[in-house]
Amino acid sequence: MEKSQIIETIRMVRDEHLDIRTITLGLSLLDCVSDDPKKAASNIYEKITHKAQNIVQISQNVEEEYGIPITNKRISVTPISLLVGKTPSEEMIIYAQALDRAGKAVGVDFIGGYSALVQKGMTNGDKNLIASLPQVLTETNILNASVNIGSTKAGINLDAVSWMGKTIKRISKIKAEGNAKLVVFANAVEDNPFMAGAFHGISEGENFINIGISGPGVVKSAIKRLPETASIDQLCQTIKKTAFKITRLGQFIGSETAKRLGYPFGIVDLSLAPTPARGDSIAEVLEAMGLEKVGTHGTTAALMMLNDAVKKGGVMASLRVGGLSGAFIPVSEDAGMIDSARDKTLNIDKLEAMTAVCSVGLDMVAVPGEIPSTTIAAIIADEAAIGVQNNKTTAVRILPIPGGKVGDTYSLGGLLGNALIMPYHQAKSDVLIKRGGFIPAPIHSFKN
């Protein structure tokens, strides 16, 4: 019996918010296709409720036996646009409701995959899906959507970017929270277990259990135990070792759950994902590294090192790594980020710079509802440019809040936290966005 290991694990769970953020069942729905939407929706419902019937119970058993909290149980499915080429957009709600009901029936927290991949152009299915997003995201509860509008290989589909700007604006006018379930990607990954962007990519197998780890609180405490005079190399080593341990837990819990469910174990997503709870914050990790406030000068450097060290520590601890793997910086979900946004140390421009060196993008950023759709599109285009040029995933999950003023707080509830409404630049970008067309793939993408 190794006393020090036992005490360390207990401390991580008890005092430092260590948890497994999500166990996500990736499920192919390709065999549910039918030219009758009602038949296809019924196939989808049947398949999900059959294949995922035990995921919640088994996850809870694993959680109880090993004493490691599993915060969310989720399902990701084949991008729905692949199944719906013949379904008019006004009938798309049939699919969305089947997915939403199936997820609720098996008791998962979220279901993701109401998605389209349009970086190089749009099929009829893609168009139907995007056109249905305002209705779908405001009339369902646990269904999450994503649209990939750019990739390093294909460039950026500016027509799609423009359409997503309008779509986000329309959703906000019906129900602002709807946009918390929609993410616009560049270089989306196919095995991401995290929402809102999870979908089960077309190169995936029939089903997989993927796992997303968490643990910013554990990393922060490990850094805090070092003296302020510790060199950045020592910090890096400490983060790597901590990430190794957290990932080990994820690898073990994931493979144990997969074994009990009888599904193959896919990947561990080595992400540091915050929650609104104090002490479970990426901002606080960066501040522990030596910044007075996140967002100030030095933030990008600290985040780059953190993100890289988490990957280096985690890669060796797990069999297969995938998903987004890195530090998440969702503003509304991170108490430290909100504090910094409130006193204007953190703004959209600095967040954008940070996304060049971490695993995601502008995430859970609230803005006043009067933001023009072309400005939303331009924000998406900027993020996509960072991702496409740097061979990485970037994303935008932005929430225009009708009637909201800069500095107001808008409560989203649960893990989504409290959004602080942040300012955007008033100078317009509409001529650029209205040009439409495609931004070509960067020269370094031609590697053959």
Partner: protein, 90 residues
């Protein structure tokens, strides 16, 4: 052998080990090792036990032990042992 680790965190007082071992004996759980230490100024007792011959479900045993902890005013955790080994294994 299926091993579990029972940890007790809180203020030390007479009868903690007695009450836990009484419950374990009743459920045919064999104690393999006991140790105690101080973690962040809190008394911490760790017990390694084998549940392969137990007459009760893991969850039932866990709930009973947690209830004993509540009576004594201490926090009791019951976890399968593998989780502690996995974390440090390269």
């Amino acid at each position: 052998m299926i091993k579990i680790v029972i940890t007790v965190i809180g203020k030390d007082k007479p009868g903690i080990i007695y009450k836990i071992s009484q419950e374990l004996a009743k459920s045919k759980v064999n104690i393999l090792d006991v140790s105690q230490t101080i973690m962040q100024e809190m008394f911490t007792m760790m017990m390694l036990a084998d549940i392969s011959h137990t007459s009760v479900e893991f969850l039932y045993l866990k709930q009973n032990l947690i209830a004993i902890g509540k009576d004594l005013g201490v926090q009791i955790n019951v976890q399968r042992e593998e989780i502690f080994n996995e974390m440090a294994k390269i």
